[in-house]
């Protein structure tokens, strides 16, 4: 399924949801926004995971809402609402947009989208650290967000509903873990992740079929390719980067990004669900356990390095193959960009090969990116 087909189908899916009387709540594709609460109130969460097209990025720059030195993903989100190309017309159906503080560009971009494209705003911020007090604050935000949803929906969100939604999303994530373990090529895996994140639990039966299909077929991987761990910024729907990597002879075996492991690793253990905790406390617990998410400080980098090292060691033990790392940096991304040289240095000290791939979505950089990827894969 190519991106065009995916987006067309998604458009139809959203239209049906609207016909059922559901509201669409969009937000920038970052962690810590509790999609379970949106689902529990009967709304449809729409993660903005569309980027890679330079027209959309340039459109935002021409509107001048934010300076050119703003991350290309954020610019693209504005461009999407401004240009709304045919394939993204479904954005017209968005009823609410969440302003959140994953990073400062998330705040500013979401605010601009709500203000200049007249989409009612909901707030859902999160703490910066994961200290006990930070968790208490995060709970306040969850309570406030729940209240906002209750006001706009006109109905109360019961604990049972939240638990039900948590279980649904848990199941989705557990299926994505299974997809992650399939021996299929990276591009295929990425498409599955992207689609599942868009459709949420409604994609469960399709995921089960995919898992079944690939399990029966056995390994679908090109064994001559160079295996890679992909970290840093996500590859969004509409981005050509995965093609460049595969055309260059690389294969991503692990997506250590928001569209990937950072999303589906955030499930809530059954033991906690069954522990009679308040459902919002379960979401707080998930926030606490999200130690690899790039939003939080001050231990993100060391946790990330330790995790990558562990994954690569385990991979080598299992397959006998070494794994290179591509650290994808969308230009002007505060979280990923600032650590790029430290991350590279620390991983290289552990004899892990790393390519810091910094880019925006300009078509002009495609050739250069391709050369850099090929050179890195050759070196591996």
């Amino acid at each position: 399924m190519d991106d065009l087909e995916l987006l067309t189908d998604y458009s139809d899916y959203l239209r049906k949801k609207k016909e059922e009387g559901k509201k669409i709540v969009a937000f920038m594709a970052h962690d810590n926004v509790p999609e379970e609460l949106i689902d529990a109130v009967g709304f449809v969460p729409l993660r903005m995971i569309f980027a890679g097209n330079d027209n959309l990025m340039n459109e935002s720059q021409s509107l001048n809402y934010l300076p050119a030195s703003t991350c290309s993903f954020a610019q693209t989100c504005i461009g999407l609402f401004s240009l709304k190309p045919n394939v993204y017309k479904f954005l017209d159906m968005v009823d609410y947009f969440i302003v959140s503080n994953h990073c400062i560009s998330d705040i500013c971009t979401s605010e601009i989208i709500t203000k200049y494209f007249f989409i009612p705003r909901l707030n859902c911020y999160s703490s910066y650290t994961q200290s006990e007090n930070a968790l208490k604050y995060f709970k306040l935000e969850l309570l406030d967000f729940k209240k906002q949803l209750e006001i706009v929906s006109g109905k109360e969100i019961s604990n049972e509903k939240i638990i039900e939604s948590i279980k649904k999303y848990n199941l989705l994530k557990s299926k994505l873990v299974e997809v992650n373990d399939l021996i299929i090529n990276g591009k295929e895996k990425l498409k599955i992740f992207q689609k599942a994140i868009l459709y949420g639990p409604d994609s469960l039966s399709e995921l089960e079929n995919i898992i079944e299909k690939y399990k029966n077929q056995g390994s679908q991987k090109n064994h001559n390719s160079k295996d890679l761990l992909f970290t840093g910024c996500s590859i969004f729907i509409g981005d050509y980067l995965i093609d460049l990597i595969e055309d260059g002879g690389g294969n991503i075996v692990f997506f250590d990004t928001w569209i990937g492991w950072n999303y589906f690793s955030q499930y809530i253990e059954d033991i906690d669900i069954n522990s009679n905790k308040e459902p919002l406390d379960l979401l707080v617990l998930r926030f606490k356990n999200n130690i690899y998410g790039d939003h939080t400080i001050p231990n993100f980098l060391e946790n990330k390095i330790a995790y990558i090292k562990q994954y690569i060691d385990d991979y080598k033990q299992e397959t006998g193959k070494k794994l290179g790392v591509i650290n994808h940096i969308i230009k002007f991304c505060d979280h990923i960009s600032i650590f790029q040289s430290i991350l590279k240095k620390k991983l290289q000290e552990k004899e892990i090969q790393v390519l810091n791939l910094e880019r925006d979505y300009s078509k002009a950089t495609r050739g250069q990116l391709s050369t850099r990827i090929e050179a890195f894969l050759e070196m591996m």
């Binding site: 934010l66 300076p67 030195s69 007090n133 406030d144 001050p298 600032i338 910094e358």
Partner: protein, 443 residues
């Protein structure tokens, strides 16, 4: 010789502040090695808890060696024998004959060497791995820690809405492993105040472990009282003296003093009592000069609010604005909410928590709507005739809201322009041309 040199030479308080800022290295060495005090790295005006714990807060550029040290050392030696006012009078006397360049060098070098050092720190930051995509302030702050971070015992980190700043603080671990965090939530909801109080208490306990001192309500109140007094003097300069038709010096010098206050307010030059003395003397000297008619009639000069500058700005701005017939005013700390007095009538920790929350939610703001309101509020408070907005390359937080600000200033009919800044000394002519065109509007 800068245009400010002639004027500044007569302000002993300004000379003292400049000296204390630039001679920080020797002062800090003495504190650390002789007096066994603990040095705590701070940036932005968040130094009060370190003071209350008996530590020495330091804005890290002050640990650097400045080129003018030999003059300052000589001047310092002279002041220890003759006192500051005598030395200042002597410098004024020497200046009249213009046969020695010592006085010129002192003042000119104070201004120049600070800017040169800032650029050096910027380069050091980039050489040591900070992507050039980040703003001037973050690159320079990172650079400040590259060589001198090892000298501090801890870094006192306050979260703000800027994700680059928060991540920069995390990145300091490489140089300063001991980090003390105070998280201020983005919004004042529910019992957020209590949560911040808890965060402050945790930071205090970590500071106590480092210093071996006990922080009491009294030590906190004492520190906050100093801060409040400094704020009152600062605001007197910002809103009373800057509003008068007669300035105690030329407006470029006045702006220079405001910029010195802005930089030094972050750590009070590592000695809060001395800083309080200096700033109170500064207000006194300014009033005295106005009373005596020493200074300049500025009644026909439009007031130009230049903001923000704390993340990096071209220091020639106020000279240009002066050249074009205006007077530049810098008031960043009030925009960001740092010039709110801390309520010490009850629990000082609660008072401090409320002040931090004010900064986060009403100053910086949790979004650009609030932030632009803050810029506008201070422009009105300053009775500014125009605003020059300083858009920093790579800034995603406090300077990326120009389009929203412009929309609001249009409603209030305040002429506004934007200039771009990347590094001191870059595109100076372009900036001058732009300012020239803007200032034409006031003629």
């Amino acid at each position: 010789m800068s245009i400010m040199g002639d004027d500044l030479i007569n302000f002993s308080s300004v000379l003292k502040m400049s000296y204390n800022f630039l001679a920080g290295r020797e002062f800090l060495k003495r504190k650390k090695f002789r007096e066994k005090k603990k040095l705590i790295s701070v940036s932005l005006p968040f130094s009060d808890l370190a003071y209350a714990a008996g530590a020495i807060p330091v804005f890290p550029i002050r640990m650097q060696i400045f080129d003018i040290n030999r003059y300052l050392i000589a001047m310092n030696s002279a002041t220890s024998f003759f006192g500051w006012s005598t030395v200042v009078k002597f410098l004024g006397f020497v200046k009249q004959f213009d046969t020695m360049k010592i006085a010129d060098n002192i003042i000119g070098e104070v201004i120049k060497s600070l800017n040169i050092k800032y650029n050096e720190m910027y380069d050091l930051g980039v050489e040591n791995g900070i992507s050039s995509d980040f703003c001037y302030g973050i690159k320079a702050l990172f650079g400040m820690h590259v060589t001198k971070g090892k000298n501090v015992d801890a870094s006192l980190n306050f979260t703000i809405r800027c994700s680059a700043y928060n991540k920069y603080l995390e990145s300091l671990k490489v140089f300063v492993p001991n980090q003390i965090w105070v998280e201020t939530p983005p919004r004042d909801i529910g019992n957020a105040v209590e949560i911040v109080q808890g965060n402050i208490l945790n930071a205090i306990s970590e500071l106590e472990n480092i210093t071996g001192n006990i922080v009491t309500d009294n030590s906190l109140k004492k520190q906050f009282r100093f801060r409040n007094q400094i704020i009152r003097y600062y605001k007197t300069i910002l809103y009373e003296i800057s509003d008068s038709d007669f300035y105690p010096c030329n407006p470029a010098t006045f702006a220079e003093i405001l910029s010195l206050l802005s930089i030094s307010f972050q750590d009070y030059n590592s000695d809060v009592m001395r800083y309080l003395d200096n700033i109170s003397q500064l207000v006194k000297e300014m009033r005295e000069r106005i009373r005596k008619g020493i200074g300049m009639d500025v009644s026909k000069m439009p007031k130009i609010f230049f903001t923000p500058m704390f993340g990096g700005w071209e220091p020639k701005i106020h000279e240009f604005i002066y050249e074009f017939g205006g007077r530049a005013l810098y008031a960043d700390w009030d925009v960001m909410g740092f010039l709110q007095e801390i309520d010490i009538s009850n629990d000082p920790i609660e008072g401090y928590a409320r002040s931090l929350l004010y900064t986060a939610t009403r100053g910086f703001g949790c979004d650009n709507n609030i932030l632009t309101d803050s810029y506008l509020k201070i422009a009105k408070k300053l009775k500014a005739d125009g605003i020059v907005f300083n858009q920093l390359f790579g800034c995603h937080s406090i300077t990326n809201c120009y389009s929203m600000l412009k929309e609001k200033t249009r409603r209030f009919e305040i002429p506004t322009t934007v200039i771009n800044f990347n590094k001191i000394g870059e595109n100076v002519e372009q900036v001058k041309t732009r300012l020239g065109a803007f200032m034409e509007m006031f003629k």
